[in-house]
Amino acid sequence: MIEFQLDTASGVATYLQLVQQVHQALQLGILEPGDQLPTAQQVVAKLAINPNTVLKAYRDLEREGLARPRPGQGTFIVGTLARSDRAAQERFLALMTAWLREARAAGLGPDDIEAIYRTAVRNSFAEGVA
């Protein structure tokens, strides 16, 4: 069974960290379809976090199609990370590499590029929030 960790200094929301750790475990083969995720009780008894956080993470995983709760039994892994993402990933990697080449040619350094990146990411995801 997976054992969750919490990094309080990372600035990443707790429930997101749990989701990311499940993703990583799936990629590394630590978790496979049919495996049971720890119950909220087990997670909070170790991490001392709010049980709602765990439930929120598990709901996100369910929305992604990776996990499903079985009433009276727990939450189980049902899917794998979509491999078809790989092609999309390669396409966007190429786009970004080209963009970076242009940005560097225009004289932007790594800090400028980082600032632009963060602004763009935040604004893009914030637009999705009401």
């Binding site: 600035g11 119950t39 009780q41 909070v44 008894a45 001392a48 976090i49 963060r118 604004n123």
Partner: protein
């Protein structure tokens, strides 16, 4: 959503001084609520009003839909652990559990005993010789085993060493996971509460300064730093909570529901700690008197 605690203009005065003033709050059920504020801000007063140890001077408070009255029905639904976790120094752990059974109609002795086992407490040890952390755990057991609908804890981890603090919170969260009880716990340190709270109430100067869901608070506040800029030139959809300036640079802590489009800003998220401090200093600062004292984020 039903509220477990609702206050309306609640106030408590001792002589000329208001320990709590004009407190209007709604605390939803099923949450772990952190009550934060410096010592003397009114946290203990609020909790004592909720549990019926004090009577309001003005306003009203309802807990689980009823007045915090001195009736055994109401008392049975509310679990309380006072500051410094009072226990009977001369009574053993086992006798404390017997007390719980005698005095509470809804006592779950299986739960109580399994918790004591789990905590490796010696039932025959007198409470006076327990460590601070063990006493806190005993007091929490007494409150949990009566199977209340809401737990009110007054600075339960203050004065505990980090390990005891962690164990206490682990136990508390486990009980929330299993029994779904609502929790209100107070502390003067936000770091104690960050891990466990999904709802935050900030008390400062005997008044409520901030009340809201933690995730909503964190996702709507940002720290902006960039070239020197006057506050009046900031966009209207950004509420300035805190600002500081040098001759060349300005830093703002803003609250906004919209995107921050200006590329001149370096934008950083705000920690809960900094957020609480900003609202507390806003309450104190003379230049911010026009600002509303209550910033409510639902």
């Amino acid at each position: 959503m039903t509220a477990v605690i609702e206050t309306n203009g609640l106030g408590k005065r001792y002589g000329r001084k208001w320990a709590l003033h004009d407190c209007t709050l709604t605390i939803p059920e099923g949450k772990v609520v952190g009550l934060v504020g410096p010592n003397g801000a009114g946290k203990t007063t609020l909790l004592h009003l909720a549990v019926g140890l004090l009577a309001p001077t003005s306003g009203s408070i309802t807990v689980l839909g009823g007045r915090p009255d001195d009736s055994s029905a109401q008392l049975a639904r509310v679990g309380f652990v006072a500051q410094d976790t009072p226990t009977y120094a001369g009574l053993s752990v086992a006798k404390h559990l017997r007390m719980g059974a005698y005095l509470n109609a809804s006592w779950d002795s299986e739960l109580a005993n399994s918790r004591i086992d789990q905590l490796s407490l010696d039932p025959r040890q007198k409470a006076g010789s327990l460590s601070g952390g063990q006493r806190a755990q005993l007091a929490l057991t007494l409150a949990i085993a009566k199977r209340p609908e809401i737990l009110l804890l007054d600075e339960p981890v203050a004065g505990l060493d980090p390990l005891a603090r962690r164990e206490f919170l682990q136990n508390l969260m486990e009980d929330v996971a299993v029994h779904g009880v609502s929790v209100v716990l107070s502390s003067h340190l936000i770091v104690d509460l960050e891990r466990v709270c999904d709802h935050l109430v900030v008390l400062f100067g005997s008044q409520v300064q901030l009340s809201g869901e933690v995730s909503a608070l964190l996702s709507s506040h940002y720290r902006l730093s960039g070239p020197r800029r006057e506050p009046s030139t900031m966009p209207s959809n950004q509420e300035i909570i805190e600002e500081s300036h040098t001759d060349r640079q300005s830093t703002f802590l803003v609250r906004t529901d919209d995107a921050i489009l200006d590329p001149a800003w370096t934008v950083k998220p705000v920690t809960l700690d900094d957020l609480v401090l900003a609202y507390m200093s806003q309450a104190r600062g003379p230049g911010h008197l026009q600002r509303p004292a209550l910033g409510v984020v639902s």
